[in-house]
Symmetry: C2
Subunit: 157 residues, 2 copies
DNA sequence: CATGGTAGACAACCTGGTTTACTATATGGG
DNA sequence: CCCATATAGTAAACCAGGTTGTCTACCATG
């Protein structure tokens, strides 16, 4: 038989597909005036969510230290994507929330993702896309939401 | 109908699946005495390949500067995964080749990838897995081999 | 043989991560 | 009621890996 696809192809394909979506989304974002937002930030925005969060919580969700989360927040704050407010119930905490600009990023991304999905449904057919969804769900433990990608790839240590 | 899967799920699933494979491979690698190898390095090893390469070429394949490639090579050399030799045909070039240890990483990874694929074939059936392969190939331009992941995720700029 | 291009190395700098350490505020048991 | 302990946030020092710019050695071509 023709050689079975060598094993290393699958991860590359998965990554390429992932990357294709992300790149599409960020092209859209750039077109909508959010050129400064990078893939990494997409994870951050999702982790902050519409309801807001705190530095410690964000760090936990992202799988980085609270200090790193703090730096990222400061960065995004400077760019006007998030804002910090004191928590009336706990003077230690500072609530981090997306600004209108930040929410717009979320909205644009969502539309972009949907668009990609629609294109894909057209390309391979809705059934195949549904199967892909289902299979991925089966294969990847899909722990709720693993958004702790950032450092993971990293170097040593 | 039930809500259509929100668009942001697909990239997360793809990433989760990718990550599951990579993590499995690196767990295997650690078990085989290659604990120092990180996901990023997997890309590098693939890019070097069994035939060897040079810093410039490696940089091009990885999508990073030749200097960055040089640093990575130096790092891997220190760990004993690659070795540098003068090119007899061109005194400027230095051939970078995987050592036996480096080749072992490639071999272990390959086995690991195949094992994952076999498990997945069992989980969703060979036809579904083949379909997944085929669909991903359709959806992600699959430019030959895009191994330029490293910096891409990065930060601002 | 002189000129222009290429391979590699080095240095300075940037970003984002980590650890360590500190301050301010909660909280809960004696 | 008060102190001990834990938690939120911040800052500093350091590290890894990326970038650009510069330099040297070597090739190749006119």
């Amino acid at each position: 038989m023709a050689e079975p696809t060598p094993g290393y192809e699958l991860p590359l394909q998965l990554f390429a597909a992932f990357r294709a979506i992300i790149d599409a989304a960020h092209a859209d974002l750039a077109r909508h005036g959010h050129a400064g937002v990078k893939p990494l930030h997409g994870f951050v925005f999702q982790a902050i969510g519409a309801r807001g969060t705190t530095a410690v919580e964000l760090g936990a969700r992202l799988g980085v230290s609270k200090q790193a989360a703090g730096k990222t927040i400061a960065n995004l704050e400077k760019q006007g994507y998030v804002e910090r407010a004191a928590d009336p119930d706990d003077a230690r905490r500072k609530l981090v929330r997306l600004t209108a600009k930040g929410l717009d990023v979320l909205a644009v991304s969502a539309r972009s993702f949907d668009a990609v999905q629609a294109r894909w449904a057209e390309a391979i057919g809705p059934e195949r896309l549904a199967a892909l969804h289902a299979d991925l769900r089966t294969l990847a433990p899909g722990d709720h939401f693993r958004l702790d990608a950032p450092g993971w790839f990293g170097t040593d240590r």
